[in-house]
Structures are given as C-alpha cells and as structure tokens.
C-alpha cells in the first residue's frame, strides 16, 4: 500500500483505470469504487482492453504529465503465464504505473511471484477494491490540497 502512495503523481488531474479481463467483473468494481471520494475536478477514465492492447494504452496515458495510471489485471490459471510477461514489461517500461491484480484460483505461491513482477496489490474479491481505491483517491486529494 505504501508503494501506491509513493508512486502517485503529486499533481494528478486525471485518474486512468485500465482493466484487462475477459468478462466485466472487475470493470464493474472499478466503475463503482474508482470514483469514491474523487473530486469532480479530477477526470476519471476507465476502460477495458486485452493484454495485447494494454501496453499501447498504458503508453498513451502514462506519457501525460498529470495523469495517474492504474492497471488492473484479471489473473486466472489460464492467463497467468501470458500476463506475467506483460506485467513485467509494463513494470520495466512504465515504473510509475500502479499495477493491481484481481486473482482467481491462483495458488498462494504464485501470488508472491506476482508481487516480484510488479503487482502492487493482489485482490481476491471485487469488494476489496473499495479500500484500495479509497487510499488512492485520498492521496490524490491530499496532493491537490498540498501540492
């Protein structure tokens, strides 16, 4: 969680959530919790794409000066191998991007590996996103008051 706080842009005016998943479970959660406590003056964008487009989308938004980019990966046993590669690449190319994973049916030993690759927080259930989004938005809010 401390990592999230330190990696947030101190003058963010735009929060971009990019969700990479097969359904819409996590995107619904981002829509619901992502704006909690966020002021209207901060632009909130969220959209879903596949892991191939992900780096392109991250590149588009991470280049902006006042944007905070948060990527949420849905990781299942089927997709873990392919996504680990992209997560690691994203970490190397865009270290300021916050990467969160929504995991399902992943053994604990792989969860530790995900954090080494660049995942800041691993969420098992969508309701856990509320706490994370609240912290992100509180930090953004605080940085706005005390830039």
């Amino acid at each position: 969680m401390k990592e999230i706080v330190t990696s947030l842009s101190l003058k963010s005016r735009e929060v971009v959530w990019i969700v990479c998943e097969s359904g819409n479970r996590w995107q619904n959660a981002v829509r619901h919790f992502g704006t909690e406590g966020l002021e209207d003056s901060v632009d909130f964008l969220n959209f879903s794409c596949d892991s191939i487009d992900m780096l392109k989308q991250v590149q588009n938004h991470a280049g902006k000066k006042h944007a905070t980019v948060i990527v949420l990966w849905e990781i299942t046993p089927k997709t873990i191998a392919a996504k680990c590669r992209v997560i690691a690449e994203c970490r190397l190319r865009y270290p300021s991007v916050i990467q969160i994973s929504g995991i399902a049916r992943i053994p604990n030993r792989y969860q530790a590996m995900l954090s080494e690759l660049g995942i800041t927080v691993a969420l098992k259930r969508p309701e856990s996103l509320q706490r994370v989004a609240r912290i992100i938005n509180q930090v953004l809010q605080a940085s706005k008051i005390h830039p």
Binding site: N28, R31, D43, F44, N46, E127
Partner: protein, 461 residues
C-alpha cells in the same frame, strides 16, 4: 428419533443406515463393518472382522484377506487426518463388486487412533474456490459468534475498521449504564443494537420506546407514563427511554424530555437513535445552549436541545452505511442466509460468487434492513442450495453501476440555446457573404426572409 449423549443413539443411526461404514482399530485390523458393507461386498462381514486392513501388509491367498486389505486407507492418512479414496475390492466368486468412493477419517491421536471409513458420493477432492470461500466465511462467522456472544446481533458483524470500532463501543456501552446515542443511516439496525445494549447494561430494567418525530410534550408524557410511574413508586427504581429519530423530535418535546431527565437524575436513562452523527458531537460545544442548530454533513439544519446533546454525547456508537464498508457485506449476507436457512425458510444455503459480486456493488440505500429482506427473498426463491443472482430481488439484480467517466465529463447544457447559437452563426456568415442582402442570405440558407429576420431580431434582443 431420540437425541442423546449416549453411544446407543449413534449405534442405532448407523445400524439403520444402508451406507457402507467400517472401522479400523489401532492395530490396523477391521473392528467394525456395517450391514451396508455386507450388501456392497456380498459377503458375511463377520468373517472380515479382525483381518488386517493395511495396504501392502503380508496377505495370504485367502480372498477375504485380500478384500480386507483393499478396505485400508490411502497413504498419508496419519499426516493428513482425512482422505478420500475410490475403493475397488476384488470380486468374490462370480459376483462383481462395484467401486465406491470412501472418506477415511482418523479419530484420536497416536497409537490409540481409530480410522473410520464411510462410503458415499464425495466431490471435494478438487478444490472449488467458491466452496473454500464459503468455508472461510463460515470460519469468520463462527469466530465472531465465539468472541462476541454478548452482542451477537447480526448488524454488528464485519471485518472492516468501522465494524470493529462499532463493536468496541458497543462492548463499552454493554458494561456501563449510562445515556448513549446510536448514530447511523436509515435501516442500519440501530434499534436492535440499542435493545441488546440495554439488556446487557441494565437487565430487567423497564424501557419505553417512543417515535421522536411524532412527539409533543403531552404525547411524550402519555407514551412514557408506565416508566414514569415506576420511577415515582420508589426512589431506588430505574428506567430507560429509547427515542427513535431523536434529532427529528420537536424541540418542545426535547425540552420536556430533558426536564424529566433532570428531575429523575441518573435514574432515567436516555437512549437516542439519530441519523448520521453531526460534527458537533465530536467538537467543543461553544454554542448558545438556548437554541442550538446543528449543521449535519448533508447541510440539513437539525435542532437538538443542549441538555439532550450533553446526555447523548456521554457515549456514542456510530454505524457506517453499508455502501462505505463493502468488505463486510459478504459476511453479513452469509450470516443472514444462515439464519434463514436454519429457520427452514428455503433451500438456499450459500451465496454463489456471482451473487456476492452483485450484492457488493449494490448501494443498499436502506442498509442492513434492506440486505436482510433481500436475503430472505433470495433464500425463499432459491431452488437449490447455491443462491444465484436471479434469486435476488429485481432492484438488486438489475442494478448497474453508472460509468463514472461519462457522468463526470457530461456538463449540463441547453440543447435549444446551442442550436440557436449555431443557427445565428450561420446566418451571420450568410449575411456577410451576401453583403447584408437579407433576401439573398435567406435563399442561400434555404429559409424564408421573414424567418431570417426573426432570428436576427431575437438575437439582438
């Protein structure tokens, strides 16, 4: 069927069951075989007793020894304590014995441990995340029930910080008889919590419950008359008054109540249920005590008599809305489903992951009470043990989270004024192109001259 603590009851149950069951003693020999085993194997089970049921143990050519060995548990049972195995005994004579799934359980420790084997359908070898999640929630519930027996109203359940804070405050309130206030949104279960606190902090003390908004001084007197009579009877007697929506109570009734509280001293206790906590309760009270106006977060002015504020501020319990503590919703919902299922209201026993996803995203405007009624509906409408999203009430299952990005970007505009301004822009451009000739400009725009003149006049006004 008679229930009891004697082993006879269990023996009767096992005898009447047709499930194959057997027990392996500490020495590895078969010490019990049920009638179900005889039916399954097609042999007289008396002949199997005292034969070794240890896999890999030296066996004779006696087919019964072979069968006894196949009834042995799989390797690793000593470490794991339980295991499931498909037992496939060898056939006797011309009779073919079908394989059977058997759950082995090791009972006891060390050399005196006994192994029980029960045949049946067991599908728990593959780990199902939903079921393991349900088991985890059940563990949390059991832990909560164990730790908070005294205050175990379901509304106090939760793992979030606000739920923990709430429970700490309730435990304090249960331990001391004092005025207290519960602050929470509509439907948060405040009254049941208040009654629980009352039962613990002042057992057998009479209590009167009144609806704050409906009160005037005369009606208040009439409503709490029984407890006033108790207080008047003896100088030792005590009583409590619970006021619903205290912050909506007319100021005259509040002043009358504060007068009663003053005249009876600590013998009359006030329990106030209020809407979300005003900031004033946690700030220094440097305000005019004659006429206090509180500013709530919702900017709705509320009126509370200063003496009432002083009483209720003695001990406050705050209940956060469910929408702000989504982490607690699965636990609360599971507890509610448990209680409905235990009351045999339906066959729904647990919530599927998709159902939990739906309920955590719903905003629950009427909080705990709405969740309770939704779970009651779900349990009753479920047709199998897993409650699916379609078993939820329509309002919950059809709820869709709005797209925050679109909502934020959409500014309120007047379509008519936008069109008028664009139209005027085109007219001005046409007039310029036609050197101010209105008829020519109107022709170039495909409208009548009078319409063009009307638009220009409207704009100049």
């Amino acid at each position: 069927m008679t229930a009891g603590t004697k082993i006879r009851n269990l023996m009767r149950l096992i005898d009447s069951s047709d499930a194959p069951m057997w027990a392996i003693g500490p020495s590895g020999k078969l010490v019990y075989l049920s009638a179900g085993v005889a039916a399954w194997l097609g042999v007289d089970v008396d002949q199997l007793l005292d034969r070794r049921a240890v896999a890999g143990s030296p066996i004779t050519n006696d087919p019964l020894d072979l069968i006894a060995a196949t009834l042995s548990p799989p390797p690793g049972l000593t470490q794991r304590g339980t295991a499931t195995l498909r037992v496939q005994p060898s056939s006797m004579a011309s009779r073919r014995v079908s394989p059977l799934d058997v759950r082995f359980v090791r009972v006891g420790r060390g050399e005196s441990a006994v192994t029980l084997a029960i045949g049946g359908q067991f599908d728990d070898r593959a780990v199902d995340e939903e079921i393991s999640d349900a088991a985890l929630v059940r563990e949390q519930l059991d832990l909560w029930r164990k730790r908070h027996t005294a205050i175990a109203t379901t509304a106090t359940l939760g793992q979030s910080s606000s739920a923990k804070r709430m429970r700490s405050r309730i435990e304090v309130a249960c331990g001391v008889r004092t005025h207290f206030g519960i602050f929470g949104p509509a439907g948060c279960g405040a009254e049941s919590i208040a009654m629980k606190i009352h039962q613990h902090s002042a057992p057998r003390e009479p209590i009167a419950t009144v609806d704050g908004p409906l009160m005037d001084p005369e009606l208040l007197d009439a409503s709490i008359n029984p407890i006033i009579a108790v207080l008047a009877d003896s100088s030792e007697s005590k009583a409590s008054v619970l006021v619903r929506e205290l912050d909506e109570m007319p100021i005259e009734a509040q002043r009358h109540l504060s007068g009663l509280l003053t005249s009876f001293g600590n013998r009359l206790r006030l329990i106030g249920l209020c809407s979300p906590k005003p900031a004033l309760f946690s700030e220094p009270l440097g305000v005019d005590p004659e006429n206090v106006t509180l500013s709530y977060e919702q900017k709705v002015p509320k009126h509370l008599d200063q003496a009432i504020v002083d009483c209720v501020a003695a001990l406050t319990v705050t209940i956060e809305p469910l929408a702000t503590r989504c982490d607690d919703i699965p636990l609360l919902a599971t507890a509610l489903v448990d209680s409905r299922f235990a009351a045999k209201e339906g066959v729904g026993e647990r919530l599927s992951r998709a159902t939990l996803d739906a309920i955590v995203l719903y905003p629950w405007p009427n909080n705990f009470e709405e969740l309770d009624s939704a779970m009651r509906h779900a349990v009753r409408s479920a047709t199998r043990e897993t409650i699916a999203p379609e078993n939820l009430p329509l309002a919950v299952r059809s709820y869709r989270t709005s797209d925050g990005s679109k909502a934020r970007k959409l500014q309120p505009i007047s379509l008519d004024s936008m069109i008028a301004s664009y139209e005027l822009k085109l007219i001005k451009a046409a007039l310029e192109a036609c050197d101010g000739n209105r008829a020519a400009a109107a022709r170039s725009l495909g409208i009548t001259r009078s319409r063009l003149i009307r638009r220009v006049d409207e704009a100049s006004q």
